[in-house]
């Protein structure tokens, strides 16, 4: 994997997720490849994408998928300039195909890396459009998502799946890494609290944060500082974690 310079700033913690994502982005850009980056929920993929958006030194565009992302919103994001509106009627109206052609032209003239966050939420037609972009304009892409992304591509989008050169699966954070992330997030966690958090959520800072915030609120409602009792009380709010424990 190519080494890339990632600066550590006071406002960001460059852990293995961030490093791997930035390295894969650089690789996708340099080789003009499609790469997938999958990791379990709560590991910090979106945070890493936010960080990469700021530090990547080459042209790139980030698309953050939502449940309501359609092929039209995707085309608008790639074809229209910031602030520009899609005229669907009137004198200068544009079809979706016009938008597509415009996006392809833009990519050909000035290529960039497309970073898709939460790619697992994209619908079938959106994946087909991404494949068309790669075929017509060799648009390099880094698709980021959870395990569902690989499954979805494997089962439903064979044509796109075959064009993917690297499929990287990021493991959960290790114990020491999770502790570092929590400290960076501003949580002072005692050893017994950390052990409980680790047992319940493993290397998922997102889940850990939700659990600790619940514990903080429970402790605040009792007028005390957060302790192991508050944390155990917070677990009651997460039925899925209780069964896992």
């Amino acid at each position: 994997m190519p080494e890339i310079a990632v600066e550590t700033t006071a406002t960001a913690l460059v852990n293995s997720v961030v490093k791997n994502l930035c390295a894969l982005a650089a690789r996708a850009w340099a080789k003009r490849w499609i790469i997938t980056f999958t990791a379990p929920t709560g590991v910090g993929k979106t945070t890493a994408v936010d960080y990469a958006e700021k530090v990547l030194t080459f042209d790139h565009q980030v698309i953050r998928c939502k449940q309501v992302t359609t092929r039209y919103t995707l085309l608008q994001a790639l074809a229209l300039a910031p602030g520009e509106k899609w005229n669907t009627h009137g004198r200068n109206w544009m079809r979706a195909s016009d938008l597509y052609d415009r996006a392809v032209e833009r990519i050909r003239q000035r290529p960039y890396l497309l970073l898709v966050d939460e790619g697992d939420r994209l619908r079938l037609d959106c994946f087909e459009i991404l494949r068309d972009f790669w075929d017509d304009a060799k648009l390099p892409m880094l698709l980021v998502g959870n395990e569902v992304l690989t499954e979805k591509l494997n089962r439903q989008h064979e044509r796109l799946f075959r064009r993917i050169r690297v499929r990287f699966a990021q493991p959960r954070l290790r114990e020491a890494d999770l502790r570092k992330v929590l400290e960076f997030m501003g949580y002072t966690v005692a050893d017994d609290e950390f052990n409980l958090v680790w047992t319940l959520v493993g290397g998922s800072p997102g889940f850990a944060e939700a659990l600790l915030e619940n514990a903080n609120e429970i402790a605040a409602s009792r007028g005390v500082k957060r302790g192991i009792e508050a944390l155990e009380g917070a677990v009651q709010f997460f039925p899925t974690l209780k069964t896992a424990a």
Partner: protein, 115 residues
């Protein structure tokens, strides 16, 4: 008994009490609620993360109603959005996630019809 009342009564007591406190029910429903469930309202309201967690883990349709009726504050909505992403996807959860996203953008209504 209305469907919402039934769902609220089946929810966790803390959540049901919080919904009662936030004015989810009209006067008649309030009477019905108090007679149906002998709950004692906790002295303090739930914190934003607690409320969002209970909604995310509870009845999806009840949560959707809470969002659509604007009984949830923006910071709670942001937490709900985050917590929903942690869960395994299914149709009901996806529908709720759509509603939450639209509420975060300041839009309301049925996500399915107004896409």
């Amino acid at each position: 008994m209305s469907d919402w009342m039934r769902r609220a009564l089946q929810a966790r007591p803390e959540l049901a009490a919080e919904l009662y406190r936030r004015g989810m029910f009209d006067a008649e429903e309030k009477k019905e609620f108090l007679s149906a469930q002998s709950i004692s309202l906790p002295p303090l309201p739930l914190g934003p993360v607690q409320f969002a967690t209970l909604l995310a883990d509870g009845d999806t349709q009840l949560a959707a109603r809470v969002v659509l009726r604007n009984l949830i504050r923006p910071n709670e909505l942001a937490w709900l959005d985050r917590l929903l992403r942690f869960q395994k996807p299914n149709d009901k959860r996806d529908e709720l996630a759509r509603i939450v996203e639209r509420a975060l953008e300041g839009r309301k209504g049925n996500a399915r019809n107004c896409r």
